[in-house]
């Protein structure tokens, strides 16, 4: 299939984007990598009046260090991250995640900002960046605001942006050298969207554990708890807590939850192995 007609904008300045988005004459969609939007346009599932291609703005492709973490421009591709454009420990963590996204051909064009804006609940970045406590740099007509990703996403395919807003950058806090990161997902075939995924960040310095369950067909389920549930040999307490939280989030299918918990156990096992 071929897309319905649309107007095409290719701004070169960040300031132009919100202005075009705010024009109410027709609907607009931002094109950052097109790996989800492209097929949706071709299937005519998305028929925006206007496409705003932001991939020609150099400042959206930068990686910067700041005191509060590393800041990635929205148009940094999964392949850039996989190939090590982010330095340090956090860069290694992000590269491992990127390597597991779809196929290299998709990673070459797909971007971190595009993926977050699309907010597919089965996508890797939504879940893992929540576990890493990332913030979104959201730009609108009134300027830039920083919002924690975990509190922003309202549901599947809804990252919680106003009509004139778009994701300009993502800020990811550094990970302490003592912290343990682990991530596992389950997909029916390599490169497909996952059916279960669990990301885990254990920060012994703060005695905290965060786990995020993705691929739940809803916004990811975030669990924050004390880390004594993971430090012992028996993790049944953690499993019970997670099961209760999944049910509380409205996930009631026993077999689905069994799979989520099995993937959680893999994530925990990886975390324990990496610590030793």
């Amino acid at each position: 299939m071929k897309p319905a007609p649309f107007a095409y904008h290719q701004p070169t300045e960040i300031q132009q984007i919100s202005a075009v988005l705010a024009q109410a004459d027709q609907s607009s969609k931002i094109l950052a990598g097109g790996q989800s939007l492209g097929p949706m346009l071709n299937l005519r599932l998305a028929q925006p009046g206007r496409l705003i291609d932001i991939t020609r703005i150099p400042s959206l492709k930068t990686v910067e260090q700041s005191a509060r973490g590393v800041i990635l421009g929205a148009c940094v591709t999964h392949a850039n991250i996989e190939d090590g454009c982010v330095p340090g420990r956090i860069g290694e963590v992000l590269a491992e995640i990127a390597r597991g996204i779809a196929f290299r051909a998709v990673r070459n064009r797909g971007t971190i900002g595009g993926s977050l804006a699309h907010a597919d609940p089965s996508a890797d970045w939504v879940t893992t960046l929540m576990a890493l406590d990332a913030e979104l740099g959201i730009r609108g007509s009134s300027g830039l605001r920083w919002r924690p990703l975990a509190g922003t996403m309202r549901g599947p395919f809804d990252i919680g942006l106003a009509a004139d807003e778009w994701i300009e950058s993502i800020r990811i806090p550094h990970i302490a050298s003592s912290s343990v990161w682990s991530y596992a997902k389950l997909a029916r075939k390599t490169g497909e969207f996952a059916h279960a995924m669990v990301a885990l960040l254990h920060e012994p310095s703060k005695s905290t554990l965060r786990m995020v369950f993705g691929a739940t067909e809803a916004a990811p389920v975030v669990i924050n708890c004390a880390d004594d549930l993971i430090t012992g040999r028996d993790i049944s307490g953690l499993t019970s807590l997670a099961e209760a939280q999944l049910r509380a989030a409205g996930l009631l299918d026993t077999l689905d939850n069994q799979v989520h918990l099995a993937v959680m156990q893999r994530t925990v096992l990886k975390a324990k192995q990496s610590r030793h």
């Binding site: 071929k2 075939k189 390599t190 077999l255 993937v263």
Partner: protein, 795 residues
């Protein structure tokens, strides 16, 4: 003939001639063709599964670019009638007429300068309907209270068949097991979809149709019937075609519609199937339901099976194979390679509000193998025998060959028990059983499974005349022509769309004439240049067209010898034909020299030379037309994670007997590709529908195909038992790989889950189905629910 396996002839794994262009992206498929003034076509397709058309609203300004059924009144619907008694024909309109019978059925044809603009036009069409309740499930379709798809019929059953042989014997059974088994709908998913370019050539007063098809001559016949213009005014060309698997073995409504449009507007028109159309609109495959019971004695004698099989045929009987081929095949081939005394099978081909189903690589064999091999494993478990021991007791034995089985299938040759031994040795079943008993450190369960199949191939007139479908294969011909500089052109009516025939037919010719394969050109896929043929399907081309190539080359060889003998001034008793030359006592003369004489210096020819010259059309018939029986054994080990339902294939062994192999590398390629597709059937591919008949697998993110990482390293071992009925002993092998994987893999999963009492009876075996089966078995074990009706065993 040259020694087998040497040089470029039969038995040599020579690299494929066609790879030079295909691997460099220089192939030319329908979508690569360019024509001046070409218009692109988009079809407006029904979003409803079952509805009466009230009106079709087309904006007045667009009316000249949109055509509906009312505009095509001169065109006849597609009718694929089977001669089997009781068959109810369907009329498949080229564009939906009065009624809609499946989601995706073409309603209007729109043309414009580009596909996108044609789709813009289609988006402005408004279809007003009166929705009717749909028939989505085939079993519901059989019931009295189901709505009717074709009102005149009185029910929804295209055809019922019934066969019963010696069912008295089942009284001797100590053990019987009954299973309800389902194979879900799939699509064939070739790399290249369908595509059509149609143009009217005024100079020739001829309709030329380029189509991505497996059977250009049959398409030409179908177009002639629907458009009511004579064959000689139609030329069908299949250029490079990227895989077919049955999806391209059909006369498309789109082929008819575009042909009509090209004549109507006098300009070339093109339609390229997109992936969504491919998934939902043209054809699906494989949807079967079996209620099957196997009978055996306590000591492991297999007495036979009774079966009620239902095939979801979709809305219309497709041309040329018809809506009955699949079910008719079920009844005749369900016994597989087993020699048992009792058999009964009833089949129903049911019309449903889904797109028609077509044969897919293996046709009904994949479903039949799944049903029978699962029941055999269930019987073996019930008796307490190893699955291969139970099979060895009832397989047809080499000393019985040729063997007529219980449905009168005539097996030509083979050593089935030997193939089983080889497979069991190669997979090290003993070692696997030890591993199974010791358990896996990661909590997974290991299982072993096997399946045996046979593949009747290249079967001809007598078999298909019995089914009475529009297309009955006859003899096959080849036109062979030596060129003035000593090359060779071969023209065959079969069509190569991945089968490597440009290489393998050249190898056959090389074996007879000694001409280097680089100088042999295969011309195929064009009705203007090639002998009439039913095309490429049924794993028939290497046997039938290969036989015809050899037969035509035989005649050329005689004529070359005759001229060569004269040129050498020798007697016929003194000469021989060696390596592309006629050799006499005082020297030799090459094909090139003989060709030069025939074409350029006829004054040097003998007076009694055959005036037919160095071009000949010759046909081939097999010793008998009941077909060759290739066969094989697939043996698999898997690890199943009972918490997540994940399946890992640990090892996969295939023992394959395709008779004499013309090119062993090409055969291996066929086996690998088929097995990859079979793994798709086993574990991934499924086209689900909702209760309103909406297909839910309309993209490749919803319809999962196995990729390179899902196909394990396959270990292929060969037996080569020649067929006594084909020219070189070769057997058809094209479909073989796709037949056994669902059965073998599911048997391995069931073996792995045996300690839970769980058994999978539906393909694909998804993680969810595995978890549900384990959960159900746990509930049964704990008394929380009754044993499911789809699994009954009695002793």
């Amino acid at each position: 003939m040259k020694a087998i396996g040497v040089g470029q002839g039969i038995g040599a794994s020579v690299p494929r001639k066609e790879d030079g262009r295909l691997m460099r992206g220089r192939g030319q498929f329908v979508a690569d063709l360019r024509f001046a003034n070409l218009k692109d076509v988009a079809f407006f397709r029904s979003p409803y599964a079952h509805a009466k058309i009230v009106s079709i609203e087309i904006p007045q300004a667009l009316r000249s670019q949109v055509f509906i059924a009312d505009d095509l009144q001169s065109v006849l619907p597609i009718r694929a009638i089977s001669g089997l008694p009781g068959f109810k024909p369907s009329n498949q309109p080229i564009l939906a007429h009065e009624k809609i019978r499946y989601v995706g059925e073409p309603v209007a044809m729109c043309f414009a300068e580009s596909r996108a603009e044609a789709e813009d036009i289609a988006a402005q069409i408004r279809l007003h309907v009166e929705e009717l309740p749909p028939v989505v499930d085939m079993l519901f379709g059989r019931s009295d209270d189901a709505p009717r798809l074709h009102e005149a019929w009185g029910d929804n059953v295209f055809l019922e068949t019934n066969i019963e042989v010696n069912t008295e014997i089942f009284k001797q059974a100590d053990v019987s097991v009954t299973r309800v088994i389902r194979t879900n709908r799939q699509v064939q998913a070739p790399m290249e979809g369908r595509g059509v370019v149609a143009l009217w050539e005024s100079r020739l007063e001829q309709l030329t149709v380029y189509s991505a098809t497996q059977m250009p001559h049959i398409v030409r016949t179908g177009l002639s019937e629907c458009l009511q213009i004579p064959h000689e005014q139609i030329r069908v060309i299949a250029p490079d075609v990227g895989g077919g698997f049955g999806h391209k073995g059909i006369l498309l409504t789109e082929e008819v519609a575009l042909s009509w449009l090209a004549m109507k507007i006098g300009q070339p028109v093109r339609w390229l199937e997109d992936r969504r159309e491919h998934l939902v609109a043209a054809s699906n495959c494989r949807e079967h339901h079996y209620q099957i019971t196997g009978y055996a004695t306590r000591d492991g004698r297999f007495l036979g099976v009774t079966c009620e099989a239902t095939v979801d045929s979709g809305a219309y009987s497709s041309y040329p194979f018809s809506a009955c081929l699949e079910a008719a095949q079920v009844a005749s081939i369900l016994p597989g390679p087993y020699d048992f005394p009792g058999y009964a099978c009833k089949t129903y081909s049911v019309a449903t509000n889904k797109c028609p189903i077509l044969p897919y690589r293996g046709v009904a064999r994949t479903g039949v193998c799944f049903a029978l091999e699962l029941v055999i494993d269930a019987l073996a478990r019930e008796i307490g025998m190893q699955p291969h021991h139970f099979r060895q007791r009832c397989l047809v034995r080499p000393e019985q060959m040729p063997f007529d089985n219980i449905t009168k299938k005539h097996f030509d040759s083979g050593d089935y028990p030997r193939a089983v031994e080889m497979a069991i040795d190669a997979i090290d079943l003993e070692g696997l059983r030890i591993r199974q008993r010791s358990g896996e450190p990661d909590g997974r369960q290991v299982g072993f499974g096997m399946a045996i199949y046979c593949e009747q191939a290249a079967h001809g007139t007598s078999v298909y005349a019995g089914w009475g479908i529009p297309m009955v294969p006859g003899k096959e011909q080849c036109t062979a022509r030596i060129t003035p500089d000593g090359g060779l052109e071969l023209r065959i009516g079969a069509q190569s769309h991945g089968q490597s025939m440009e290489t393998t037919m050249a190898q056959v010719a090389h074996s007879v004439l000694g001409i280097e394969i680089e100088r042999v050109r295969l011309i195929h896929g064009d009705t203007a240049f090639t002998p009439y043929s039913t095309g490429t399907w049924g794993s028939r081309s290497m046997v039938m067209s290969g036989g015809a190539v050899a037969a035509a080359c035989d005649i050329l060889k005689k004529r070359l010898l005759h001229i060569g003998t004269w040129l050498l001034r020798a007697e016929s008793s003194q000469v021989s034909y060696e390596d592309g030359s006629v050799v006499g006592p005082k020297g030799r003369v090459s094909v090139e020299q003989i060709a030069h004489t025939w074409f350029r210096r006829p004054q040097d020819l003998p007076d009694d030379v055959d005036p037919g010259g160095l071009e000949v059309t010759e046909g081939y018939r097999m010793v008998r037309d009941s077909g060759t029986f290739g066969y094989g054994v697939h043996a698999v080990s898997v690890a199943v994670d009972p918490r997540t339902g994940e399946v890992e294939i640990l090892d996969y062994v295939i023992v394959e007997d395709g008779g004499t192999l013309i090119n062993p590398m090409v055969v291996d390629g066929q086996v690998y590709g088929g097995t990859a597709q079979g793994i798709g059937t086993a574990l991934y591919e499924e086209m689900p529908f909702d209760e309103r008949g909406q297909p839910l697998g309309s993209t490749f993110s919803d319809y999962l195909l196995p990729g390179p990482t899902e196909v394990p390293s396959l270990r292929v071992l060969h037996l080569e038992t020649p067929s006594p009925y084909s020219r070189f002993g070769q057997k058809g092998v094209g479909e073989s790989g796709a037949i056994a994987p669902p059965a073998a893999i599911t048997n391995a999963i069931n073996d792995a889950l045996n300690e839970f009492g769980a058994e999978l009876l539906e393909s694909p075996v998804t993680p969810r189905r595995i978890l549900e089966a384990i959960d159900r078995a746990r509930q049964v074990a704990s008394g929380a629910r009754e044993a499911p009706a789809e699994m009954v065993s009695s002793t």
